[in-house]
């Protein structure tokens, strides 16, 4: 309980929401693995991608919850520049722990930038899922789709419920 309170106060200081993932709890765990971070100001899909909408561009990546469950990412397959992505359709994949896991786009639009750093450093998805580990930038074709996504509190609860169910 004390650890959860510390995590919560730390999260507040960093403007984070936090959720304790039961799957991460084990003897000798470290605080860095105790909770998945959920950032304010982003929108979230129930397939664990995040979107940051700034002006005419939306940046997309996978959440801290997702990267923690996937394990060490060793490869990222991303779309071509100027290609189209569609809401809830696959735009790429990551490889981790012998598995390819598809990444779904939370919104529809045109890919205007791809994070080429992930070619040499796919692990950025693990170490910095909301910043250096971003995957694509999209020009949204239907900004109203953003309203269908979850906010931070809703997504935090979604993750807690999902982990609790297993």
């Amino acid at each position: 309980m004390a650890l959860r309170m510390w995590a919560s106060s730390t999260a507040n200081a960093l403007k984070l929401s936090s959720t304790v993932s039961k799957s991460h709890l084990s003897p000798g765990f470290s605080i860095s693995r105790c909770f998945s971070s959920v950032l304010e100001g982003l929108k979230y899909a129930n397939s664990h991608e995040w979107v940051k909408h700034e002006g005419s561009v939306a940046t997309i990546g996978i959440t801290d919850h997702a990267q923690g469950h996937l394990g060490e990412v060793v490869f990222a397959e991303l779309p071509e520049l100027n290609s189209s992505v569609s809401k809830e359709k696959n735009f790429g994949a990551v490889e981790s722990v012998k598995a390819t896991s598809e990444i779904l786009s939370p919104i529809s639009g045109e890919v205007v930038e791809v994070n080429t750093k992930l070619t040499e450093s796919p692990g950025l998805i693990n170490t910095s899922p909301y910043e250096e580990g971003w995957m694509i930038k999209v020009k949204p074709s239907n900004p109203a789709e953003l309203e269908t996504l979850m906010g931070p509190k809703e997504y935090t609860k979604f993750c807690e419920d999902e982990d609790a169910a297993h």
Binding site: S23, S47, H69, L70, G71, V74, F75, E77, E88, N90, A93, E95, S96, V97, K98, A99, T100, S101, E102, L104, E162, A165, H166
Partner: protein
């Protein structure tokens, strides 16, 4: 288990496809199609493949993983498959078991690699029950510290596949086509292929393995046998679906040239 008892237990349905000697490229194309365009659960057992073939994971780089000179000289086919994981060379002595599941039909398993892997380890724990030394070690099936089964997965929105190639037997000469990969499990230490792997035939009869695997799967699903020729009725047509493919000679030559 009788069908009526299985129904009473409310077990989800799984279609069982038993194959023998089907080419591994055809098997992988079938699996990818079933994963993406079917809504059913599937267990595919392929007893051997026709010719020795190298199969790399999605991110595999031929120059890093293969001895390209001998591979091209001996015209060994090289496939890049749709799942993750490492590189294997398979032949008639390899046995394949693939499990394609709707995540909602295996509710105690989260659709993430480690959860699926743990579930598979438990299932094969039943298969190899009584055989000393079997375990899921890191991501491999081993007897003791020797690997006999390699795993790979692909996870999509509501479904996943976990497939395994089992070394029933192997030709030592074929192992020479594979380089020591840069990413290896910790328990491998620095052993080369022949010191790292073992033959499943030294531990279990071939027919026993198949029947026990089917029985273990049948403890969690109601199995229904489906013939290969009837599979089309379970899938939707999909264009440009296949990401599993055979690498061309030109691609292998280019890979070799790029490293020199």
């Amino acid at each position: 288990m009788s069908l009526s008892r299985a129904k009473d237990l409310g077990l989800p349905l799984m279609n069982l496809v038993r194959l023998k000697g089907i080419p591994i490229l055809e098997q992988l194309h079938l699996e990818e199609r079933l994963l993406r365009t079917s809504s059913h659960n599937w267990c595919i057992v392929n007893d051997g493949t026709d010719v020795p073939t190298i199969v790399m994971g999605m991110s595999g780089k031929p120059a890093q993983l293969l001895e390209l000179g001998p591979v091209m000289e001996d015209r060994i086919p090289v496939i890049k498959r749709f799942t993750g994981g490492g590189t294997v060379i398979v032949d008639k002595s390899t046995m394949f078991v693939s499990l394609i599941c709707n995540k909602d039909d295996v509710p105690n398993v989260q659709p993430y690699p480690r959860s699926v892997m743990a579930w598979s380890g438990s299932l094969y724990g039943d298969v190899f029950n009584g055989i000393n030394g079997f375990q899921l070690r890191e991501n491999d099936y081993v007897f003791g510290d020797r690997k006999f089964g390699g795993n790979a997965q692909s996870i999509i929105r509501n479904r996943w596949i976990h497939h395994t190639s089992f070394l029933w037997d192997y030709n030592v000469r074929n192992m020479a086509y594979l380089k020591l990969p840069s990413r290896v499990p910790q328990y491998r230490l620095e052993r080369d292929h022949t010191d790292f792997v073992c033959r499943m035939k030294d531990y279990i009869e071939r027919s026993d393995f198949v029947e026990k695997t089917i029985k273990a799967v049948g403890n969690q699903f109601t199995l229904k046998q489906v013939n290969l020729k009837d599979i089309d009725s379970y899938t939707k047509a999909e264009n440009n679906l296949k990401t599993t493919r055979l690498l061309t000679l030109e691609e292998l030559e280019k890979a070799m040239a790029d490293t020199s």
